[in-house]
Amino acid sequence: MNTITFSSAGIFVAVMALTTYFIRVTPLALFNKKLESQWIKDFMFYIPFCVLSAMTFPDVLFSTKSLTSGVIATMAALILSWRKRSLVTVALAAVLVAVAVELIVV
């Protein structure tokens, strides 16, 4: 397998970085008045929750080696985060649960 390096993929990597930055900087650089519409404010309030939820479900179930460990680890993550545990705790616990399920059950 050829190693992918700066010289072989530099342009692709630069395109990724510039596209990402362009998306982030455009609103902050060009838009500087306060919005009045309550609907738009509400829409923006909900957007982060909706984006992260749509990215997570259902893909999280298939993000480990098997569906069984994916489902059980997801349930563990949901329970822990419902109890307001931190990001690190939830992420690491889910990985550990998935590994444990793979070793014991599957």
Partner: protein, 242 residues
């Protein structure tokens, strides 16, 4: 300076949380054949979890540059909405160069913490807030890229769930105190499942998932904004206590 330190401390847990996820990125990138330093460079310049995973998959598969550009654009389009929301949250009349620096640090987690602030966000606070996450994200990639082989294969195969569980840990805690947030999460998840599984409609998710995510999120947020109105004047971001 005081504001910068306060931001630095607030960003500490995000920086730590990024390490297992970026570790996974470094690991996956090197397994695909990327040189370790290139993987670190991608993390440092993108600071974008899902977008990076999709990007290296396309580069490795030899996709044309336009497809890489479009996919990166769609997956990261949520940052546009977050930046737009931040324009409403930062102190008035912040100079352009400061805004341009802030833009670099707009991630899901940093945005969630910044919008939780009770007062308008100042530049030093946001600068502090983004510092440790950038360090953690790059350092985690470094660790994953150089230490990948030391982990048992079974652990490597299960690390991918860390990214999603971090998203869960951001959105669920605020939902426990606020039914509207919970409904918005459920509606978006339902749309996302429909786009994935309902025959005919699932064609949307077969191009990498970027479009189905954007449509699900925008539709769910629009429904919630129309049916589940927030109280005006009330500091809306108070509930986001990730």
């Amino acid at each position: 300076m005081k504001e910068y330190i306060r931001g630095l401390l607030s960003g500490k847990s995000i920086g730590l949380g990024y390490i297992p996820v970026s570790f996974t990125f470094g690991l996956v990138a090197v397994q695909m054949g990327f040189s370790p330093w290139l993987a670190v460079f991608i993390s440092f310049t993108n600071l974008a979890s899902a977008g990076q995973f999709a990007g290296i998959r396309l580069i490795e598969g030899g996709a044309p540059i336009i497809e890489l550009c479009m996919t990166t654009f769609v997956i990261n389009l949520r940052y546009f909405l977050m930046s737009l929301t931040l324009t409403q949250k930062i102190v008035p009349k912040m100079p352009l160069w400061k805004r341009c620096i802030m833009a670099f640090g707009v991630t899901d987690e940093i945005f969630a913490l910044a919008s939780m602030e009770k007062e308008d966000v100042q530049f030093p606070f946001f600068g502090g807030l983004m510092t440790l996450p950038i360090v953690g994200w790059s350092f985690g990639t470094f660790l994953g890229a150089f230490a990948a082989e030391l982990l048992p294969p079974i652990v490597q195969a299960c690390m991918g769930i860390a990214l999603y569980c971090m998203f869960i840990a951001i959105i669920i805690p605020p939902a426990t105190d606020d039914k509207h947030i919970l409904y918005s999460i459920l509606i978006a998840a339902a749309f996302s499942c429909i786009f994935k599984y309902v025959p005919g409609i699932n064609i949307i998710s077969q191009t990498g998932g970027g479009w189905s995510m954007i449509i699900s999120a925008v539709a769910a947020a629009a429904i919630c904004a129309s049916l589940l109105k927030r109280k005006p004047q009330n500091n809306q971001t108070k509930e986001v206590s990730a």
